[in-house]
Subunit: 174 residues, 2 copies
DNA sequence: TACTACGTTTAGTATTCACTAAACGTACAT
DNA sequence: ATGTACGTTTAGTGAATACTAAACGTAGTA
């Protein structure tokens, strides 16, 4: 017996919700994205309400986050007061967008604090073993963060290059 | 006036805690790692209690997660019943370990569900536009996950190659 | 002006989750 | 066996957070 499309969509949505939660996002966010991603046409807020069962309020706030990450796009129709949303289907573009967004985040402020710790030590140098050990460790972590940063920047700069190609390149490195 | 080491350590720990929280881990986990990372010698459970202010119970469970990810290592001393823990200082090795760990996670189960949805559609093919559209979308997402997967595998396989080198390689790609 | 159709904000609620305190299990020592 | 020094597990708590319901603001329409 053939499975209904509705069933497929439900399973798919379930999966995306779990993935969303796994990455620390609300699971409703995954559901919203799934609804948009599986829709051939852009959806209005109320249509998303119908699809996901969430309320307008929740969707309103969460879809703004999705838009900020570049995972969904907002559009309007002339003579129609509603907003319409559609999913970004190019995941590679989405990743780049997310990395860009992350650049000015809470994460970067925290990374900055490591840099500050290092600078503070530079200015107040004490010449004993414990001090030196601590300095080397903090420095190593800071270099690691720098590497992550330049890696993210490199990925952002890559043009029209799919993820699979990247992994192919890495595979050759040996 | 020279800043005390204790002060530096506190700031550093604060920063790592925030970073930990940012990535969806408990902030206590960041504090535990910071304590170990800044210690020249392996620490016992009770010493970590003293450093972080957390209780044994919390540390016991969270340090197991850290160990599973390869971020800390457990060791013992002969004639000493205590366990000792030290931080993995090679972050590149840690990343590889984390990627390996992720292989059998909740995330992969969710990804698997997408694969299942696709297989279900294969077996129950219906020839209309909506069906085809849905199929293509689900398929695209599945390919994306595959790409991520092979990327992770490629990174795991890389031997003795720092992150900075990887980003250098990507930078050349254009 | 009032009315309608929107999206957003807010106040309150339910649930998740990190963490504590304490009981527990275990291995070794006496 | 009794005690002691560990690590682990569990029951409970407080805080963070996702979400609901409803008030609100606003722009178009009569």
């Amino acid at each position: 017996m053939p499975q209904s499309l509705a069933r497929i969509k439900k399973d798919f949505t379930e999966g995306l919700s779990q993935i969303s939660r796994f990455w620390g996002f609300p699971k409703g966010m995954g559901a919203i994205f799934a609804a948009l991603y599986l829709s051939p046409t852009p959806l209005s807020l109320d249509e998303i309400v119908a699809e996901t069962g969430l309320t307008k309020g929740a969707i309103s706030t969460e879809i703004r986050a999705l838009a900020r990450m570049g995972l969904v796009h907002r559009s309007t129709k002339l003579g129609d007061r509603k907003d319409y949303y559609e999913a970004e289907a190019d995941f590679y573009a989405a990743i780049k967008s997310i990395l860009r967004e992350r650049q000015n985040s809470e994460f970067d402020r925290a990374v900055g604090s490591v840099k500050v710790a290092l600078a503070t030590m530079d200015e107040n140098w004490v010449d004993n073993e414990e001090w030196k050990f601590t300095y080397k460790r903090v420095q190593a972590l800071q270099e690691f963060f720098d590497a992550i940063d330049s890696l993210a920047k490199a990925v952002i700069k890559l043009e029209g290059l799919g993820l699979s190609n990247v992994s192919k390149v890495l595979g050759v490195l040996k």
